[in-house]
Amino acid sequence: MQARELIMDLTNEQGGGRESQVQPPSEVWEQFFGVRVSADVRPTFRLENKKVASDPEQRKVVKHHHNLTIEIGDARLPRPAILRMRRTGHNAFDYWVYRPPSREYGHCRWILENLAEDVATGRRWIVI
């Protein structure tokens, strides 16, 4: 069964104004998005920012230096910030970017602090 929800720290990603080009770890690509990092065939996603009333984004997964990248419109600075994504259908996801001092940010931070899969890389994440 594919995981339905992802909660993940947003880091500075590629930096230098490219913070919205998010590079989740390979485990997240495989367990949540269902994409193998080594595959030549890459999907295009329908992303919908649910924090604001906005039109769906069409974002293709691209490879940057042996890592896969997805552009997420609202993942720009500042940090800290936490990304929450929910699968809504085939290659379709709703997303929220939470920042302090919101209650949602505090709730997701608690989940990452207590249940996150991987803190070694500096980016905490969990798929549910």
């Binding site: 030549d40 295009t44 996603f45 039109d55 769906p56 069409q58 290659n91 379709a92």
Partner: protein, 422 residues
């Protein structure tokens, strides 16, 4: 990943069965040629001659030749085929290897049409389900659908329903008609809109002799810029349109490519005569996809005076000796290129040949051609070969294959100017 190379015979069979059919009239030499390990995968050796190295792990290549030159777009297709094959070679020795190799032409078609924003699996997925639906029916009727992909759809119109979810339902088989309605998808494959293209076409100035079968023009004209339209028709054929032209068609189990400009170039004629050639070519596409069969000849310059050597006087419109020729003369009072395409298609479907002069004046229609005995093909082929002595003669068979004979070569073995979907 390195793999053990195949035998030269196996490479030959892969190219012969899967690549050569994309280039009508091409001949793959049976013997391989040794090459350096650093040799390029695809090399143009000369006009109409290309060396293909099917595997970078193998120090050999094959020569593919045809009488007409390979255009840059042809070379690109060969390169894509070699790339597609390279991906499959890691499975050499596996029982499913042959099946993977058969997918190479389909990969080439998908890569040629795909915009960078599109999901890599979208076009191959559409082609795969169309091939599956080609053998199915809906309420007793064969399925005909049309799907468009718009790289820049209106964002607010993108639904949350993905094509892969939609096609699980039987009703998806009637959500477009394969002619003038279209189900439009976003680059991710989500449904955007269900379009009727009839009003749009009425409001535009149409290029009458566009490079698309006339019945699919609404779909072709939607496929502007990077848009792609795919059609499954009731014959089980899949047509792919891009840049307002028919680019590829899957017919009789094979993918064929339509290099329109190169074909027009090979039809010859002066700058002024090109308008006639374009009209003739467009009508050949119409006849080919209407599956009626036909034969159209264009007489060069003063050879129009020799038409009576091939066609009986009863069929000459200028003489109007019979009721048929009298009526056709009355109905076809214009040059061929000025007659609407549906009318030209119907005239082309008459039993017999249509013969024009180089300005497009119709000399004969539905004309029975005098042919010599001992022909190597059917009556239409024999008629086209005979009429080729006038300049150019094109035979369109009832199963859609198009073969054009030029006035070069001998009477019994005229040179082929071009072939499509053979």
């Amino acid at each position: 990943m390195p793999h053990s190379p195949l035998t030269p015979t196996e490479y030959y069979e892969i190219l012969r069965s899967n690549l050569a059919p994309m280039f009508a009239g091409a001949d793959l030499e049976t013997s391989s040629i040794p090459c350096e390990p650093t040799a390029r995968m695809v090399t143009e050796e000369g006009t109409g001659v290309v060396l293909i190295r099917p595997d970078k792990e193998w120090r050999g290549c094959f020569r593919i030749k045809r009488k007409t030159p390979f255009e840059p777009v042809d070379i690109e297709i060969i390169n894509q085929f070699v790339r597609a094959l390279g991906q499959k070679l890691v499975a050499v020795g596996e029982p499913f290897f042959d099946y993977l190799v058969e997918m190479c032409p389909q990969d080439v078609v998908a890569w040629s049409a795909q915009h960078r924003s599109m999901d890599d699996a979208l076009l191959p997925g559409i082609i795969a389900f169309m091939q599956k639906w080609a053998s199915q029916t809906y309420e007793g009727a064969r399925i005909s659908v049309s799907i468009g992909i718009d790289p820049s759809p209106v964002a607010s119109h993108i639904s949350s329903t993905h094509l892969s979810e939609l096609i699980q339902h039987d009703y998806a088989k009637v959500l477009s008609n394969g002619i003038d309605t279209l189900l439009v998808l976003s680059p991710s494959g989500h449904v955007v809109e269900h379009l009727s293209l009839t009003r749009r076409i009425g409001g535009r100035v149409r290029n009458m002799d566009s490079y698309s079968p006339n019945r699919y023009r609404p779909l072709a004209e939607w496929a502007t810029r990077s848009r792609v339209a795919l059609v499954l028709n009731r014959h089980g054929e899949i047509l792919l349109f891009k840049r307002e032209q028919l680019q590829f068609a899957f017919r009789r189990g094979k993918w064929c490519h339509f290099p329109h400009d190169a074909v027009i170039d090979r039809m010859g004629g002066s700058k002024n005569e090109k308008k006639v050639m374009r009209a003739v070519y467009a009508s050949c596409l119409d006849i080919s996809f209407a599956r009626t069969g036909g034969c159209i000849a264009v007489a060069n310059g003063n050879r129009a005076a020799n038409v009576s050597a091939y066609v009986g006087g009863d069929d000459l419109l200028s003489e109007s000796r019979t009721e048929k020729s009298l009526l056709l003369r009355h109905l076809l009072g214009k040059s061929f290129q000025d007659i609407p395409r549906p009318i030209r298609e119907e005239i082309g479907a008459l039993d017999g040949a249509v013969v024009l002069d180089n300005l497009g004046v119709i000399i004969a229609a539905g004309a029975i051609v005098t042919v010599s005995g001992g022909s190597d093909g059917g009556g239409r082929r024999a008629a086209a070969k005979a009429l080729s002595r006038l300049g150019l003669a094109i035979k369109v068979s009832a199963d859609g294959a198009i073969t054009a004979f030029s006035d070069r070569g001998t009477k019994d073995n005229p040179e082929i100017a071009f072939e499509l979907c053979v």
